[in-house]
């Protein structure tokens, strides 16, 4: 089964990393730096994890596939943001399926924060990602594999 994951995450220094992974490898990405002293500790993350037999293999096709699912995913994020503001349990990472994905495909939102007070920050982040979904996807750059 193939997997595609869109993620956006924020660091303590305010830096934000956005990317798309195919089968666990980031193929498209973008990092928004800040002027604060660098600190790689993570404050929160949001993942849109997709799995299924008919998902694309290639970076641009994955971007296109996610763009085609925009309305479905944006609605799912707004719904979860509302639940967070209503005070759902945030003691562990949240996992919420997005219904009505195409047959044989599953889409889930995962999100987590380093500390409980960040729950509202996550709701804001979900709203931001939902509002700028296409823009975030279109700004991602093709990445070369990291040399270790």
């Amino acid at each position: 089964m193939k997997t595609i994951n869109f993620y956006r995450q924020m660091r303590v220094d305010g830096g934000k990393r956005t990317g798309i992974e195919i089968d666990g490898e980031t193929v498209l990405g973008r990092f928004e730096r800040t002027t604060k002293p660098e600190d790689a500790a993570l404050l929160w993350f949001v993942d849109i994890r997709c799995s299924g037999g008919n998902l694309p293999n290639e970076a641009e096709a994955a971007r296109e596939w996610l763009l085609n699912k925009s309305l479905l995913i944006q609605d799912g994020m707004r719904d979860l943001a509302n639940k967070l503001r209503a005070g759902i349990d945030f003691s562990a990472p949240i996992e919420q399926p997005i219904p009505n994905a195409e047959k044989g495909t599953h889409i889930k939102i995962f999100c987590s924060a380093a500390r409980r007070p960040e729950a509202l920050a996550i709701a804001k982040a979900l709203d931001e990602i939902s509002s700028h979904w296409k823009e975030f996807l279109n700004k991602l750059e093709v990445l070369e594999p990291v040399v270790r």
Binding site: Q9, G19, A40, L42, V146
Partner: protein
Amino acid sequence: MANRIFDASYLISHWRTFPKTSKRTLENMRLWSEKLIEQYGSRRIVTPVYIEMVAGVTSSAELKLAQAYLASFEIVDEGKIPKEDWDKAKYMAQRVAANGGKRQLGDCLVRAIANRLNCEVLTADRRFPGP
């Protein structure tokens, strides 16, 4: 996976919350770490984290359980820590936070490696100052 690296504080905290109603077998410890990996969308750690985890065990039986737990993770630095990481870790260690909190070797090194690999650190330790 999603450029996230677990630090030792995260793994130790998760290790300690293994359900009291379950038996600590090798398979159950593996499944326990897989649950964390699923929740946080990453199986990445670095060598200092692996060492800190196994260094915390107090018996050979517990070591086997820790090894089973850690086997699910990928050590992304592959045991190769270049001089630039040590230099960056040294730089971080020399930064004194406003609250005067002390820095730990492991924390500095994990963040130095994470910076080099363009990763973020999943940490339960909020005291550590940025580099």
